[in-house]
């Protein structure tokens, strides 16, 4: 008994670095990112008195003196400027204008010599219920606001879920586009990668090495360099257009850049190894004599391929597709540099919220949506590969 316990203990000890690493660098960031999406304490934390008063407000009428007094008291009590910043960012995201309103208000409140009578005397905007509504809506510790906004939904004044107006509805379009571009790239990778893997698997020695190295090469180059190289090749006066025109295949330059074509070409190039390698690794495990056997049994090469090689290598295709697709939905540098305005992918929106406006809630929510979509895909894959014939 004690021997077994000590063995368990020892293996736990050996696993400790891995578990600590996973917990610290994988589970915790993921969890905190996801919790950012739904946690909404930035305002509640700083405005406890206002929260009490606002609970009794009818959400329509102009602010009462009690509300103003409570908010003044709360704001005066704030000492942590970073927490204040978080609150302002949260409120400004719900209602444009809070930035300047709050900085004006806080600096007026700190003026000891001439204390303002009420908030409206500092700025007329405090008269408008919209600003108070934004505060009132930000007072529950958990929110579905970011998650809803990530799929272009929001709550109206009555708290019902409804579509955001068209001029704010961009995420769903971009999400769908992201999946569509990723699907196109995946198909392109299959179309090129599958025959490539078959040829590579059928070769041996240095020829095989050269083919694998050629497909791995893009992985060893920086993403920016690769993308810039595609820019040079694809542009109107670029190499590809020059060649096409020299060969007389086209009369004028073909638009290959700043559109979907360019994005798919460049992303396919970058992601091809993730398709070729899984297919290749499955292909080399397929016994070499199955195709001769099929031929000896009377199967035309094409039928032998469809009935034997294809079903047996589908596992590799599925794994490769999953890898390519999941990598592709996270791309944004390539679409940003090679794509046109209609090729922006969801990651660039996430990057804007995270880097550009420090709105971690929205960034987290979009991340959660992306993660959920990925997990759904993965479960489909897992289901399919579990049913895979030939596997027990």
């Amino acid at each position: 008994m004690s021997a077994r316990a000590s063995r368990t203990g020892r293996s736990l000890f050996l696993l400790a670095p891995l578990l600590l690493f996973l917990a610290g660098f994988f589970v915790w960031p993921l969890f905190s990112m996801m919790s950012q999406a739904v946690s909404d304490t930035a305002v509640l934390r700083l405005l406890p008195q206002s929260a009490e008063v606002l609970a009794g407000w009818d959400r329509k009428s102009p602010p009462t003196p009690e509300m103003q007094t409570a908010l003044i008291a709360d704001l005066k009590a704030v000492e942590d400027t970073q927490a204040l910043g978080d609150m302002v960012r949260r409120l400004n995201s719900a209602r444009s204008g809070f930035r300047t309103l709050m900085s004006k208000t806080t600096s007026a409140l700190s003026d000891e010599a001439d204390p303002p009578a009420d908030l409206v005397s500092i700025d007329k905007r405090w008269e408008r219920p919209e600003f108070w509504l934004a505060i009132a809506d930000a007072l529950s510790p958990l929110t579905d606001r970011n998650l809803l906004a990530a799929v272009d939904l929001g709550r109206n004044a009555d708290g019902e879920i409804e579509h955001l107006p068209a001029d704010q509805s961009v995420n769903r379009v971009i999400l769908v586009r992201t999946f569509w571009i990723s699907a196109l790239v995946t198909f392109a990778c299959i179309a090129i990668g599958y025959p490539y893997a078959i040829i590579a698997a059928s070769l041996s020695g240095w020829k095989r090495d050269v083919m694998l190295a050629a497909v791995l090469l893009p992985l060893w180059t920086s993403l920016l360099v690769r993308t810039a190289a595609w820019f040079i090749l694809l542009q109107e006066q670029g190499l590809i257009n020059d060649v096409l025109q020299m060969l007389g295949l086209t009369s004028g330059p073909v638009q290959l850049i700043f559109n979907r074509t360019g994005v798919v070409i460049a992303m396919t190039h970058v992601l091809l190894p993730f398709m070729v390698l899984p297919i290749y690794s499955v292909l080399i495990t397929i016994p070499k004599n199955l195709m001769p056997a099929a031929a000896s049994l009377g199967a035309h090469p094409l039928r032998a391929f469809l009935r034997v090689l294809l079903p047996l290598s589908l596992r590799g295709v599925a794994a490769g597709s999953l890898l390519v697709f999941i990598s592709a939905i996270g791309y944004y540098i390539t679409p940003a540099l090679i794509g046109g305005p209609g090729d922006q992918m969801i990651s660039s929106i996430i990057a804007f919220y995270a880097i550009g406006s420090a709105n971690w809630g929205m960034a987290g929510a979009l991340g959660v949506v992306l993660l959920a979509a990925t997990l759904v895909l993965y479960s489909v894959y897992a289901r399919l590969s579990a049913d895979e014939p030939g596997r027990r």
Binding site: P287, N289, L290, P292, A293, A294, A295, S296, L297, G298, A299, H300, P301, R303, A304, R307, V308, P311, L312, P389, G390, R392
Partner: protein, 400 residues
């Protein structure tokens, strides 16, 4: 659809009713004339892999309904020859004829030959039933007929219960029987087997040997069987072609290649043998007198191609040697001393020294024991002894 054999005819004799094994199916000693009606012909086949010659100017004819084994060590070209017959490889030069037609340019899938591979080559993603149905589907047969034929093929190899299993769920022997059923179910003109039993354990292998031979007998199949196991070749074949370095050293019935080896290679490769060097003193009436280095003279059967004065080998199978206390005038006798004696269950193996020349004798298990150091005479008749001319390259070495 051609229906050549009764076992696959609907309502025909139900093959599997009789077990494929057991005393009832013991081989009847049926001497087959080689080359009944010639069905397959290899005509001056040469095959190079790059600079390497693996089959050299080879001629071979195989009769319809014949079971021919291609026997030889690995790298002797036997598998390559089979692969060329199946259409997986192209001969560098020469013609392969099947039923009078050159098939060099016929692709594999139109050659109508069943192939059984050493590693079975079953399709892992299909059930046993689907595997066997595969060649029938390729031939566009109706569903009902396919099901019917698959049923009978499974009965034939006694795997009816395994129809819905996948190959990975079967044992090696079962997999090989599925492969066999798959190669036979479409009634190919020829069945090619490439070391099909190599991956099985000894007991299973021997059982399968009998099963395959039995199928051959009953279905009248033409079988080309590649193996490096000489006992397998002897057990199963009508004729054995012994391969060495891309050439056929000897082709003949199992009895011929065993009892009358034409070359030293054949004598040594098939079974165990004693090779004794000597010089031909006289030849008369199918017998030759060979003088050994020790001065003793041995009388041996001989079959042409050997001239008086030539340096030759004498091949004597160990089980043909008897040990006697006294010289026996009717037989060849060599004076020897026992160096070791091992009881091996079914026989007694005695190692002898005739002067400096080692000899091996296998005696019946009832024979008495011989203590090392005992002086005995090794006796054998002229008929149990063959004269083998050393190949040109070895003549010098033998003479020196």
């Amino acid at each position: 659809m051609r229906r050549r054999r009764s076992f696959l005819l609907p309502g025909g004799e139900k093959v599997a009713e009789g077990r494929m094994r057991g005393p009832a199916l013991c081989p009847t000693a049926r001497a087959r004339e080689p080359l009944l009606a010639e069905f397959i012909r290899f005509d001056r086949i040469t095959k190079f892999y790059g600079p390497l010659c693996v089959v050299e100017n080879l001629d071979l004819g195989i009769g319809k309904g014949e079971f021919v084994s291609l026997l030889g060590p690995s790298g002797s070209g036997k598998t390559t020859l089979l692969m060329m017959l199946a259409g997986f490889e192209q001969p560098t030069s020469g013609t392969i004829l099947v039923d009078g037609q050159a098939v060099n340019d016929v692709p594999t899938h139109k050659r109508d030959m069943g192939v059984v591979f050493q590693s079975y080559a079953l399709f892992p993603h299909m059930t046993v039933g689907e595997n066997i149905a595969f060649p029938l589907e390729m031939r566009g047969l109706g569903k009902a007929e396919i099901a019917d034929r698959v049923t009978r093929a499974l009965d034939m190899v006694q795997l009816s219960a395994m129809r819905e299993r996948r190959p990975a769920q079967l044992s090696g022997g079962q997999q090989q029987r599925v492969a066999l059923a798959r190669a036979l179910v479409f009634e190919p003109r020829v069945v090619l087997m490439d070391e099909p039993l190599g991956a099985l354990d000894k007991q299973l292998r021997e059982q399968m040997q009998l099963d395959i031979r039995d199928l051959h007998r009953r279905l009248g199949l033409t079988i080309v069987f590649v193996t490096h196991d000489q006992s397998e070749a002897l057990t199963m074949s009508d004729r054995v072609a012994v391969f060495n370095k891309g050439k056929i050293e000897q082709i003949g019935t199992p009895r011929q290649v065993y009892d009358e080896p034409a070359t030293r290679f054949v004598a040594e490769f098939i079974g165990e043998t004693n090779l004794i060097e000597g010089v031909v003193a006289r030849i008369s009436g199918g017998e030759a007198a060979v003088r050994l280095a020790s001065g003793a003279e041995i009388v041996s059967a001989v079959s042409g191609g050997v001239a008086e004065g030539a340096t030759v080998y004498l091949s004597v199978r160990p089980e043909r040697i008897e040990l006697a206390e006294a010289r026996n005038a009717a037989h060849n006798c060599l004076e020897t001393e026992v160096t070791d004696s091992v009881y091996q269950g079914d026989h007694l193996r005695v190692e002898l020294a005739a002067g400096s020349h080692p000899l091996i004798a296998k005696l019946g298990r009832r024979s008495r024991e011989f203590e090392p150091g005992t002086k005995v005479f090794a006796a054998f008749s002229a008929g149990d002894c063959r004269v083998i001319a050393p190949p040109d390259g070895q003549r010098q070495a033998a003479a020196s």
